[in-house]
């Protein structure tokens, strides 16, 4: 397979500097766009490539950008392009790799995206713990300003763009794009009501696009080599390649660039090396902590947005979390619900109060204090908190996804906790203690 996103990422995981990036075709997409393509041309290429957002939702990038008012339809003032580099989804570790090892790829993608929507200011909103990535991006930005890829009149094109790095002060909810915008404005990161959508009224009330790191990293290649080429990269129904990851007790956990539509079995068995000795696969979250469990029956599915969706889950970030047969499914869901309850922004009641209630019920079951009617309570919570429209944003519904699918696939395990009055996997929970 042709490496696209990881073409500059070697086994040593060292960062690619400007010289090396340019030597491998870097900034050719930008030169081409500024010389030959109008913003509308760029938008058409991205739309035609059928690139879908790699942050989790899979929304078509070209369509997202098409809602930004252009030319006379936009009131005078700034427009913003924001990179969401706030990778905090439990089990997700792909954007870290892209930023640490090839910062220029992201920056070129951002310049091209800003050109397409006619933005003049861009931000990289990055989680504060990504110390190495922040430093390497700072170094790369300095190289770009010195080389004329950023600043006024980029490469003599008349297009100007400034780019800033904003290390975040924390909180998972900042990954939600309107919460991220509030954080950039110096406020509490509560999500905003939509509409208005950020494309029309985002940062400081101005048109704003927020895209995930991996999404933006695709842009230079699509502009340079075209939509048709990009569509040939996928082996299923979706276009391009994808960073897929596997974590949990497998032999070779890691992150790999593979064609969109790669079968799950290939990722788990050939790349991750299968389960560690003595362990069996019980289930997995295909795309991070807020996606529904799938089971060994789903191993031959293609990692495409619609295929995983039809199986009852979401591709999410494409970074799988593996549940083995000696790890307690109730404990795993409890860990996730604890995370989401802690990370609730507190704005709406079903999330702020519902998630701690769910956590309490799960703690009771896991510790052997569960009662049969607790399962009815969990089912009620799933149906109420999990329903879009009952909560202010997608955090709480996302939190319900692993729970509702665990109740479906691992119901026996919940029953055994309750009937036996203890966790049947107890030996694992003491492991390492």
């Amino acid at each position: 397979m042709e490496k696209v996103l990881t073409r500059n990422i070697g086994a040593d995981l060292q960062p690619t500097d400007l010289k090396a990036y340019e030597a491998n075709g870097g900034y050719q997409g930008l030169r081409k766009a500024l010389a030959e393509l109008s913003p509308k041309d760029c938008l058409d290429v991205i739309s035609g490539a059928n690139l879908r957002g790699r942050g989790g939702a899979g929304f078509p990038t070209g369509m997202k950008w098409s809602f930004v008012p252009m030319g006379d339809k936009c009131t005078p003032g700034h427009k913003y392009l924001v990179c969401n580099a706030d990778e905090m989804e439990p089990g997700a570790f792909k954007d870290r790799l892209l930023m640490e090892c090839d910062p220029h790829q992201l920056i070129e993608g951002m310049i091209l995206s800003a050109y397409t929507i006619d933005a003049d200011i861009s931000y990289i909103f990055i989680r504060g713990e990504y110390v190495v990535a922040i430093q390497r991006l700072r170094d790369a930005l300095a190289e770009c300003y010195a080389a004329g890829y950023l600043g006024d009149n980029i490469l003599g094109s008349g297009f100007s763009l400034n780019m800033y790095i904003h290390p975040s002060a924390g909180r998972y909810i900042c990954g939600e794009e309107t919460a991220l915008i509030n954080a950039l404005e110096g406020k509490r990161a509560n999500p905003r009501a939509k509409p208005p959508f950020p494309q029309v009224s985002g940062l400081w009330g101005r048109p704003t696009i927020v895209n995930n790191v991996e999404t933006l990293c695709n842009i230079p290649h699509i502009i340079d080599r075209g939509a048709d080429w990009f569509k040939t990269l996928g082996v299923g129904e979706d276009s391009g390649t994808k960073m897929f990851g596997v974590s949990g007790r497998v032999k070779n956990p890691g992150c790999w660039e593979l064609p969109m539509g790669t079968p799950i079995r290939h990722i788990l068995e050939d790349r991750a090396g299968g389960m560690q000795d003595g362990l069996q696969l019980k289930g997995f979250l295909p795309g991070g902590g807020s996606t529904d469990f799938l089971t060994p029956d789903h191993l031959d599915l293609a990692m495409d947005y619609n295929v995983i969706g039809k199986a009852g889950s979401r591709m999410g970030t494409g970074t799988m979390i593996i549940l083995d047969d000696q790890t307690c499914p109730v404990g795993m869901v409890l860990n996730l619900i604890r995370f989401f309850a802690h990370e609730s922004c507190g704005f709406c009641t079903p999330c702020r109060d519902g998630l701690p209630w769910t956590r309490q019920v799960l703690e009771d079951i896991e510790s052997g204090r569960g009662r049969a009617e607790d399962l009815d309570t969990l089912a009620y919570q799933v149906s109420y908190i999990g329903a879009m429209g009952n909560t202010h944003c997608a955090l709480a519904p996302g939190a319900m996804e692993p729970l509702q699918s665990a109740l479906k696939y691992f119901r026996d395990d919940f029953d055994r906790h309750i009937s036996g009055g203890s966790c049947p996997y107890h030996s694992h929970t003491r492991q390492g203690a």
Binding site: E87, M88, E89, P90, G91, A92, F93, D95, R96, R127, G128, E129, Y130, V131, V132, Y164, P167, S168, A169, G170, R171, Y172, A183, E185, G186, K187, R188, A189, W204, G245, V246, S247, G248, R249, P253, G254, C255, L285, G289, T319, I321, I322, L323, D324, T327, G331, M332, N335, L336, F339, E343, C345, T429, R430, Q431, G432, A433
Partner: protein, 174 residues
């Protein structure tokens, strides 16, 4: 600090010229002063380790905000510290992949070695232990950060090696 003292806070007697100049640089990018609130908190914290009541009052005054509003922001973000922390903060990942890989045992080991639980600082002010959302290094679980350094594939031997001069007698305070 009581209300009367707060109102009389003289910004320049609390914040250093260096801090004010860094905050001014951020103010150049934002359309109104409160837009730099988080940046200002981070700037002051970078110098002092944490945000005291006095610092908070002074920053709020400088940004034309109420102290209450800035307090709401400061307490929202987990990397802004409103209590003193040790010289290094240990950000311990207890999210799902690290949990599957046995982080509960590692956490217990750290507590045994350093004598502190979550939210506590060692008596010698060297370390504060805090849980953190998934650190994005799940392929190398269990992981944690000590200061700016990421430590991966944690096991009990690595904890011993990281904190060689600590023993179980070290008591914690909160």
């Amino acid at each position: 600090m009581n209300d009367a003292q707060m109102i009389q806070t003289d910004v320049s007697s609390v914040l250093s010229p260096e801090e004010l100049s860094e905050i001014d640089a951020e103010l150049a990018h934002v359309p109104y002063k409160s837009g730099a609130a988080i940046d200002a908190l981070k700037i002051v914290q970078a110098k002092r380790g944490w945000i005291s009541d006095q610092s908070l009052q002074a920053i709020a005054k400088y940004l034309d905000m109420s102290a209450e509003e800035l307090e709401g922001i400061a307490t929202f973000y987990n990397l802004i510290y409103r209590r003193p922390v040790g010289k290094k903060v240990i950000l311990f990942c207890d999210s799902v992949s690290c949990w599957i890989c046995g982080c509960d045992g590692i956490k217990q080991k750290i507590t045994d070695v350093l004598g502190v639980d979550y939210g506590e600082t060692t008596q010698d002010d060297a370390y504060t232990l805090i849980p953190v959302p998934c650190l994005g290094a799940c392929d190398r679980a269990p992981v944690m950060m000590v200061g700016d350094d990421l430590h991966t594939h944690l096991d009990e031997a690595k904890i011993d090696a990281l904190f060689p001069d600590k023993n179980k007698k070290a008591g914690g305070n909160s």
